[in-house]
């Protein structure tokens, strides 16, 4: 009987790598200039939203409406802060994630029946309905939205000097934890079945696996990630408005997901950082051509790197090389 070493990085390797990276970022953040920590904070928070899209992509569908859960998470956190006085940063992340999940859950069974263009259009429509509702809801500030004050951490208020770094640290830790969770999910039996669903739904059903349940679960988990990302974003940004749910916002999250590919969690955050870097530098130096660059970049990736930048290291790794024996 063949005794085979497990292919791919072991679970402990992923965990150690993830924790090490998080720790390194936390340390580095103390020495980086404020604009850079803010940029990384946004990249991490928004990366979570794109991570949700990647989760669904592993099942074979692309959501064009992830802005919906992004907005709900952000509005929920901001409202919990403003109306109920809940101020703990991590607590607000949970509020955002859970509220987004609760709103998404009723739609999960329905959406689990759709694929391709129709899945994309239905998710898009739902996010635009939310946009339309939010714009006209005066109590939420209408199209202007409203501002949010500073959250607290461990009961402590955050002073001017520390707030940037503390929120950065909270975001990095939460994103890191969810990223590790995502990695575990990808490697789990449910995660593998998701990939199988993308490849051949028929065979999954014949083996006794439920395709619709897999898709619905992906959708709900993606909602949590999106909501958490929304909460983290609004806390650092200090402001929320209906554009969080607009289709162009969803488009940016899709861009990051496509750029990253669906194999590596780390790639999602790298891709998100790339977008934030381009966004920041562009507004300074080339405000009228940054979308052009994004568009060209996207075409390049679609044409030459169809499995995303993650494929650059995942596919080349020794345990992935196909052909011949081992």
């Amino acid at each position: 009987m063949a005794v085979s070493p497990p292919a791919g990085p072991t679970r402990s390797t992923s965990v150690i790598g993830g924790v090490a990276l998080t720790a390194a970022l936390l340390v580095a953040g103390a020495f980086l200039p404020k604009w850079l920590t803010f940029l990384v904070t946004m990249a991490a928070a928004r990366g979570l939203v794109s991570l949700g899209i990647v989760l669904m992509m592993r099942g074979g569908v692309v959501s064009f409406g992830q802005g919906l859960v992004f907005a709900i998470g952000a509005y929920a956190a901001a409202l919990a802060f403003k109306r109920f006085g809940w101020s703990d940063a991590v607590g607000l992340v949970f509020v955002g994630g859970v509220m987004a999940m609760l709103v998404a859950a009723p739609f999960a069974p329905l959406l689990s029946r759709y694929r391709g263009i129709f899945f994309a259009m239905l998710t898009l429509a739902l996010s635009m309905v939310a946009f339309g509702v939010l714009v006209k809801t005066e109590s939420l500030g209408g199209s202007d939205g409203f501002n949010m004050g500073r959250p607290t951490v461990f009961g402590q208020a955050l002073g001017d000097a520390h707030v940037g770094y503390v929120l950065y640290a909270v975001t990095i830790i939460v994103a890191g934890a969810l990223a590790l969770g995502a990695r575990a999910y990808f490697d789990s039996t449910r995660g593998l079945v998701s990939l199988a669903v993308r490849e051949n739904e028929l065979r999954v059903e014949y083996l006794g696996g439920s395709v619709r349940r897999a898709m619905a679960i992906n959708f709900v988990l993606a909602a949590f990630a999106g909501g958490a990302g929304g909460a983290l974003t609004v806390m650092s940004l200090g402001h929320i408005d209906p554009n969080f749910s607009y289709w162009t916002t969803s488009g940016e999250f899709v861009f990051v997901a496509i750029l990253a590919g669906s194999q590596s969690v780390f790639a999602v955050f790298v891709a998100s950082t790339v977008l934030e870097v381009v966004r920041s530098f562009s507004s300074l130096y080339f405000p009228n051509t940054w979308q052009l660059s994004l568009g060209l970049f996207l075409l390049f990736v679609i044409r030459f790197l169809p499995r995303g930048i993650g494929s650059l290291w995942v596919d080349r790794a020794p345990w992935r090389r196909s052909g011949g024996g081992r």
Binding site: T189, A196, L207, R321
Partner: protein, 253 residues
Amino acid sequence: MSGAAPLLRATGIEKRFGALVAASEIEISIAAGERVSLIGSNGAGKTTLVNMITGYLKPDAGSIALAGRDITALHPRAIARLGVARSFQVPQLYPALSVLENMLVAIACRGERLSFWQAARRADALHGADALLERFGLAEHRERRVAELPGGVRKLLDVAMALTGQPQLLLLDEPTSGVSAEEKFPMMDIIMTALGAVPMTVLFVEHDMDIVSRYADRVIAFASGRIIADAAPALALASDDVRRHVTGAPGPG
């Protein structure tokens, strides 16, 4: 015959698609451990029966029982989880995944509840997958992406996946179709040998009568939705009806 209840029992099965009679007065009783070949020309009703056993088609009349339990109205997934496994004429695999991953998916689906946390590549799953791959001679292809594999290997993998979770009843849909003449017997040998490790009840749809006479204990022949023979291969293949409708003249019966 031990006298024990049959593993699979189909009674009074009727199925029509408009004017087309896909199944009529079908009565089948299969004991555990039997190896039964379903023969008949295209459209004779073999695949319809397979689809009804696996639950994807519901008969217009009649019932199907697995180990005494009525499965006629069950959801296909429930039937699969009761231990009915199927392989496909055109292999249904996960092309972008490796051979090992294909097996792991099968093991996961057939196993206990799927987990959000438990690794797909945990030790017991890997052992199970590797054991089956060994039995089918597929161990050397373990890490290869299915899309890159030749046809014969894909067919074997398709059957190997069906064997995960120790099914009670295995339905093989034309296991040697699409395989070159020299490869047919070796392939069937591999499959039957692999099955021989555990007592397994097998229904296989086949068009090649040499394969049928060599590997089947019993032959059930179909024509126009009816059973025209149900006997040991030597008898069944020699019958006039079978010669006329199945093996003799070309074209649909």
